[in-house]
Amino acid sequence: MNKSYELFIGPNHPGIPGNFSLKIELEGDTVVSAKGDPGYLHRAFEKAMEGRYYIQNLALIPRICVPEPDINEAAYAMAVEDLMGVEIPERAKYIRTIVLELARVANYTMWLGGLAGTLGLYTLAQWSIGDRDYALDLFSDICGARVYHMYIWPGGVRRDLTPGWEDSVLSYIRYLKNRLIDYDNIFLKNVMFKYRTKGIAVVTKEQAIEWGATGPILKAAGVAQDVRKDDPYAAYEYLDFEIPTLTDGDSWSRAMIRRWELENSLNMIEQAIKKMPKKGPVCAKMPNPLKGYVPEGETYAKVESARGEHGFYMVSDGTGKPYRVAVRGASHTHMFTIAEKVLVGQRLADVSHTLVSLDICPPEIDR
């Protein structure tokens, strides 16, 4: 009699984080092997970018990560600016920082809801996804779009902030800081949460480095690495912030790192609003987007996403369209090099929250 059996999780499964599938082999309810099965979401972003003008790609790239689209805009814009040798205005640097951190907040609130949901606590999922919506309203105020903003673009940002927007952001931060206490009380301090996540899906420091982990997975394993600190972009070099680290590398530690990062982001937005020049240009002088050419060359631009290092490798042949753009999303490595290994030995009931704990974002794989 065959002791093991195969189970498909996804692409349509409440415990899978997006249009992605996982084939797991089980003995009883213990995972003996796990294989990621991508392709359900592939929209050929990289190929499509080669046929469009640089400016047209801005409508395409936010879709590479639904919960946090702005990282794509920022890395793409930074790559173009790097090739063109453009320095963006000071005010634009701060606005980018505020927008990127707000996007991180929106991502983490959605992520917290996802984690709570996979552990059976839907109350927090309702709360935090509702609270994310207020952040989306703030995006709508500056660019007219809630999910895909197309606001950060080569040279700076598309337009200046609307009057009073900073006050609305500060008001949201005050609200969310109070709300975090509720999140902690109902979920992160909950003994059941600790019981379900402590010692689960451990990635040690040595493994995290060897396997190429970035972001919260690496920080939870004890390595203080963050692109915002190590290779600062936008206005991060002017801000005072710590990189949180823990040492256990388990599901609980990763959740705590994200909780810490969420609060850090709120503090960073406050600092950026305080330090931002009140007046000044928000975009450098750039050539006509449909006639301008980007000088020939190759570069790699990277930002820190909520999941880790997010980068764009861009090659220009000196024409109006990129010759090649390769996208590096953290989830690519986190799924195939890490999740496939750490899922082995886990119970079936822990598979979904482990995937959420590693924050696998399928569009970063299907690009």
């Binding site: 991508p38 392709g39 592939h42 050929a44 990289e46 190929k47 499509a48 080669e50 046929g51 480095i209 060897e210 396997w211 190429g212 970035t214 390595v223 690495q225 190590d230 290779d231 190759e298 570069t299 790699y300 990277k302 290092e309 980068g311 490798y313 090659v315 010759y323 090649r324 390769a326 590096r328 690519h332 490595t333 195939f336 090099t337 299907d366």
Partner: protein
């Protein structure tokens, strides 16, 4: 004491271009690429951020690049090598960087590059029942492929 940049400059057969303080391009022949990656890992470049390909169709080459990062030195090193488009074969880097395993599966499928030593290359990864030339190659015409394989859907109110 010798700095890491000096050590990189001494890599055998490598052409070094310092784009800026923390972005260094290292160009090597394809026979030296694995040795170079190994040397760089020993120097402290433990993270492979991305491995991918640029189709240099006019030169008849594929450019394969590896973006590495050192947590210690906070530097990105980009190793580049070139293979003939007619016979694109590289050696796997997954024994040095485990994350290369999946990047190689992807470039093998999307560009038709054979990766020696990676047993999963050649197995379906993202594409399903693909019978055309590898889709990320420059000579693959995605518009032509779409018009041949899919029915064009007119929007409501649009003239036929």
């Amino acid at each position: 004491m010798m700095g890491v940049v000096d050590k990189i400059k001494e890599l055998d057969g490598a052409k070094i271009t310092i784009q800026r303080e923390n972005r260094i391009f290292v160009d090597v022949d394809k026979d030296r690429v694995i040795g170079t990656l190994y040397s760089l890992k020993l120097m402290g470049f433990h993270q492979l951020s991305v491995q991918n390909v640029v189709d240099r169709i006019k030169d008849g080459k594929f450019e394969i690049f590896y973006v590495l990062y050192s947590h210690e030195y906070k530097i990105n090193v980009i190793v580049r090598t070139w293979v003939d488009r007619d016979n694109p074969v590289i050696e796997t880097a997954d024994k040095i960087y485990p994350s290369a395993h999946t990047w190689e599966r992807e470039i093998s499928e999307m560009f038709g590059i054979k990766v020696e030593g990676n047993e999963d290359c050649g197995k379906p990864f993202i594409l399903e029942n693909w019978k055309d030339i590898p889709p990320m190659r420059k000579d693959f015409d995605s518009v032509k492929y779409s018009s041949e394989h899919f029915v064009f859907r007119h929007s409501e109110g649009e003239n036929e």
